[in-house]
């Protein structure tokens, strides 16, 4: 009996990590966008949902899963570029609340748009055939697809890390997040960097959406709850910190899945309780920098 419980806990831990992986993908984008542009992107959940819908639409039209996994983030990322260029850019320098309200409104427009095109009800999405089934991971059988979500997130994070640490553009991003003025006087067109970062963030959100689709299907409202959770993750990890977003994302995922094992109705409460505790102990979150909001 004890062995069985341990096994259950072990599996639930992995489930939590897989869920956390989705949070991480969303939170990393939120954090990048906030760190660079000081934009609190309330449309992030809508981009996630849009990614899931574009992915589903592609699958419905016979596009294979791998291609859909690449195309949906690409399409949504391009939309992100257009949104930054036309809607958000005019609001820079006006304070944090303008882009916040704009993206908040934009998220409603995107959700409504999807309802108009695809209807109010959701659709299930099949797990791609070669990722169906379960594998023994030592503590028991674990769905292969969830394992894939974890692995895919790890690969993306590694690529993102290499991009930030090893490329010139990455250096600009890291420097620009600390001090946009310095990169400007060193000849960098910061507006272009912000554009690309916003596009990248929305593409990551869309990727999370496609990955989530086979797990839970798609529905126009799917971006709401996960956005709230992703915000908790960025707050716990520290606004603007990528390492923080990764660690906090996994932590929140595990907390959710463990709580839902014992008291499913408490799982959302648990997230916010976690946030409250972290903020009481460390008001800037794990890796937050003081004064980022000022």
């Amino acid at each position: 009996m004890a062995g069985l419980t341990l096994q259950l806990l072990g599996l639930q831990l992995f489930t939590g990590v897989a869920l956390g992986a989705l949070y991480v993908l969303l939170a990393v984008g939120l954090s990048l966008i906030f760190g660079m542009l000081t934009v609190v992107n309330f449309a992030h959940g809508a981009f996630y949902m849009l990614g899931a819908y574009v992915g589903m639409w592609l699958l419905m039209h016979g596009v294979n899963f791998w291609l859909a996994l690449a195309l949906a983030p690409l399409a949504v990322g391009l939309l992100g570029l257009a949104v930054e260029r036309t809607l958000i850019r005019p609001l820079y320098g006006r304070g944090i609340d303008y882009p916040l309200l704009l993206t908040f409104g934009l998220s409603y427009i995107i959700v409504e748009g999807v309802r108009v095109v695809f209807g109010n009800t959701g659709y299930p999405v099949d797990t791609p055939e070669i990722l169906q089934g379960a594998v023994n991971i030592g503590v028991g059988y674990f769905p292969l697809y969830r394992l894939f979500v974890i692995a895919a997130t790890a690969v993306i994070l590694l690529a993102l890390w290499l991009f930030l640490e090893r490329t010139s553009f990455g250096l600009i991003v890291r420097a620009g997040a600390r001090d946009p003025q310095i990169v400007r006087i060193l000849g960098v067109d910061v507006a272009r960097v912000w554009l690309i970062v916003f596009g990248l963030g929305t593409a990551l959100a869309a990727l999370a959406g496609v990955l989530a689709a086979p797990l839970q299907g798609v529905i126009p409202e799917m971006g709401g709850p996960i956005l709230a959770e992703a915000f908790v993750v960025t707050v716990v990890g520290g606004m603007g910190s990528l390492v923080g977003a990764v660690l906090a994302g996994l932590l929140v995922g595990v907390v959710v899945s463990m709580t839902s094992l014992f008291a499913p109705e408490m799982s959302r409460v648990a997230i916010f309780a976690l946030m409250a505790v972290v903020l009481l102990i460390k008001p800037q979150g794990f890796f937050g920098r003081a004064g980022l909001m000022s």
Binding site: S168, R174, A175, D179, R184, D189
Partner: protein, 234 residues
Amino acid sequence: MLKIRGLEAWYGASHVLQKIDLDVARGEIVCLIGRNGAGKTTTLKSVAGLIDKVGGSVEFEGEELLGLPAHVRFHRGLAYVPEERRIVPGLDVRENLRLGLIASPLKKRETQAIREASMIFPRLAERITQSAITLSGGEQQMLAIARALISQPKLIMLDEPSEGIMPVLVDEMFELFGKLKSQGATILLVEQNVELALAIADRAYIIDQGAIVHHATAAALLADAEIQEKYCAV
């Protein structure tokens, strides 16, 4: 090379610069001095493109700069070492130097350029992998100067490079400015350390309450105790 005419600047409604005229010729070191709050930093920032509301004209090599974004002015050959927030905290010394070349056509010879730049101040070479935030104030200033020089700008604007820095390092820094001058560099220098600055400068302007109130050769100013007393005492 730099020709400022009737330059005005505002922070919101407050009118900070009133019709500044200032020239810097190629190969010159020109010094801008004045009390705290006189408008020295604002003048340099206006030339660098960091002040939103400006008027008048700033010509650089015959072309108007006002209206151009800051990054374009860098590409015209203008370097600016700010008074504060000189280095990027999260990066190490080498990465800070790399930033100086990141948008420059010289990026191709980055490794060599970084080696040369860190040779300007041997302290930087010794600390090349150290996080820039852990450098002393003086070392951070040296890093900022080296980062500005690395792109081989035509004109360098320095805002109080000696501020809050150990005297030994200040000497080392001014030695460098002298050497740069002998190599033909053009420098617009803001300094509170008047004697040191005038010793290496060709000409100097005195700014007070946002207006140029005096203009003379460095030698003449150095000899003029009365003017120094009136406008430079902190």
